[in-house]
């Protein structure tokens, strides 16, 4: 198997996901199936073919450095589970 249970636990931890034993097993199986499937691509001979990460000739567009105000910041604060005055409040990060 390409992905071990241990690796799944580590990735889950990095992604702040809490998986129980059964979920870890299922996730390991799923991830391996996905990787096996994608692995088929390795059968194609790509010698002398440069990687195509984006469509040829495409480049990121850019904007001018001019301020455009977003006027609904109050709503953004309201959507948060907790806010106080103009601040978002999250559980204490350091003691």
């Amino acid at each position: 198997m390409a992905v071990s249970k241990e690796e799944v636990r580590k990735i889950a931890d990095l992604a702040r996901l809490r998986l129980d034993e059964a979920e870890t097993g299922r996730m390991t199986r799923d991830m391996n199936e996905i990787l096996d499937y994608v692995d088929k691509l390795n059968e194609v001979d790509t010698e002398n073919v440069s990687p195509l990460s984006w469509l040829e000739g495409k480049r990121t567009p850019m904007q001018d450095d001019r301020v455009v105000r977003f006027d609904n910041t109050g709503q953004a604060l309201k959507n948060a589970p907790r806010s106080e005055g103009r601040f978002f409040i999250v559980p204490r990060v350091i003691e």
């Binding site: 480049r59 990121t60 904007q63 301020v67 977003f70 204490r92």
Partner: protein
């Protein structure tokens, strides 16, 4: 420090770019605004919002790379650096990883003894800043302000070429100076617009490999960087000398305790799982854009320093001091130009002495100084004409700095015009000589030092206004 150990230091500097808007959205980057007022769906990390790159951020980043002689790559890629922290709402920072927009380059650091050290740069890349967490605002939680979130940063990564805290300080000074000359960063370490992390290890002198390194963060001043490096180097040496091993870890500099402490696990950096950001196409910087930016670069500190020495005949030391900031260098050049009849070295002496002393006293920058180059040049004009003496000029200057009036006005209303009238001076000289027969006899007996006493007495009588050259002449005659 024991001489058998050699420190090996690399610095990572984050510089906030002085754009008006953020890296990937058009929110203002204004410092000190009401919390969470400069935010939008993009920098809040709301689903479906897409980043659009700020052209000015690229412009400033490329200029910086060119100033340090870096290669600017035509194509570069934005990557996601994944980690969780409340001030990073997307759960990733957009940065550059495998293909940064620039690499290589050098920073010429000047040490206090006047020698230079070339510190190689590994790369400069473009990324976005995180917001701010305030842990003391409320009892039960951490307050988050996302105004800074998304502000453009460049990260300047050096090679491990730095060998001492002093070199690190010199490197940072040159870096900051150049960023300020370019006008791309305000360089304020206390406010966090310039931040520095240090990778530090030590090895036996002469060894070619590297020791295990630690990373020290949270140093918020140049002196803090210097002290933290000295502290950490000493710590590593004592660990090694007592037979222990340096553990690779991230440490925080504690300003109050003047010591480093390990980062708590919750603050610790994780496995970032970088991957190309699928929301952003490659950044392409065409050659003609780069060429245009190269042409637009201002004269940089080292070049200007050299020119000051060549053009004005100043000692290297003076050129170094006067070019510390672009504004001070401009001030000098403008004054020297307007005071064409005055030796540039004299102008330099005045600026390095009197002017900088007043600025230090008042804690004000040269571009806010009341005495303009034209006014200072006016004062030099009065000295050259013989209207005021160098000594009186100091009084005039103080008055100019206090009132903002012109030198001519001060001299006129204050009756400070130098007395060059020989008969008036002769009268005082004769009176002083007659009133001090003992000293006069001593002088005649060959005690040259007494001459200074007479000079002082005459100047005192004339309240410093007598032309010293004439006083000197007449005194010699009278005492002769």
């Amino acid at each position: 420090m024991s001489h058998q150990w050699e420190p090996v230091i690399g610095l990572e500097v984050h510089a906030q770019l002085k754009t008006g808007t953020k890296t990937f959205c058009r929110c203002s980057t204004q410092f000190g605004d009401e919390p969470n007022s400069n935010v939008c769906p993009v920098c809040l990390g709301l689903p479906g919002a897409l980043p659009v790159l700020n052209r000015e951020a690229v412009t400033m980043a490329v200029k910086t790379a060119l100033a340090f002689g870096c290669k600017v790559h035509r194509q570069s890629i934005f990557a996601r650096k994944n980690y969780f922290y409340p001030d990073l709402p997307k759960g990733y920072q957009i940065s550059q990883y495998e293909q940064p927009f620039s690499s290589d380059g050098t920073v010429e650091a000047r040490l206090e003894d006047g020698t230079s050290r070339s510190i190689r740069l590994n790369r400069i890349h473009l990324e976005e800043d995180a917001g701010k967490s305030i842990h003391t605002a409320t009892e039960s939680g951490t307050a988050v302000d996302l105004n800074r979130c998304g502000t453009p940063l460049i990260e300047i990564v050096s090679e491990p070429d730095i060998r001492s805290a002093e070199e690190a300080y010199a490197y940072l000074s040159r870096l900051r100076q150049t960023l300020l000359y370019l006008g791309v960063c305000d360089g304020n370490m206390e406010e966090g617009s310039l931040r520095c992390d240090a990778n530090i290890s030590v090895r036996k002198a002469g060894a070619s490999g590297f020791g295990t390194r630690t990373e020290v963060k949270n140093m918020n001043s140049f002196r803090g960087v210097e002290r933290a490096i000295n502290y950490e180097v000493e710590r590593q040496i004592s660990v090694l000398e007592s037979g222990g091993e340096v553990v690779q870890e991230t440490l925080l500099w504690d300003v109050d305790k003047q010591a480093v402490r390990p980062m708590r696990s919750k603050e610790e950096a994780n496995d970032y799982r970088y991957f190309p950001d699928p929301d952003l196409l490659p950044l392409v910087v065409e050659d003609d854009w780069v060429a245009g930016l190269e042409k637009s670069l201002p004269e940089l500190p080292q070049a200007r320093e050299k020119r000051f020495t060549n053009q004005y005949g100043l000692p290297e030391y003076d050129s170094g001091v006067l070019t510390v900031t672009r504004e001070l260098a401009d001030y000098f050049e403008e004054t020297a130009r307007l005071a064409a009849g005055t030796d540039p070295k004299k102008v330099s002496n005045w600026i390095m002495g009197e002017v900088l002393a007043v600025l230090r006293d008042r804690n004000v920058e040269i571009d806010r100084f009341e005495v303009t180059p034209a006014q200072l040049a006016g004062m030099f004009g009065l000295i050259e004409e013989g209207t005021i003496s160098g000594k009186i000029a100091k009084t005039v200057f103080e008055e100019m700095a206090a009132s903002g009036k012109s030198a001519a006005e001060i001299v006129e209303t204050g009756g400070l015009v130098q007395i060059s009238d020989e008969s008036a001076i002769r009268e005082v000289v004769e009176r002083v000589v007659a009133g001090n027969p003992e000293q006069a006899a001593e002088y005649k007996a060959g005690k040259q030092k007494v001459f200074g006493f007479f000079m002082g007495q005459v100047m005192k009588e004339t309240r410093g206004k007598a032309n010293p050259k004439i006083v000197n002449e007449l005194l010699r005659k009278a005492l002769g």
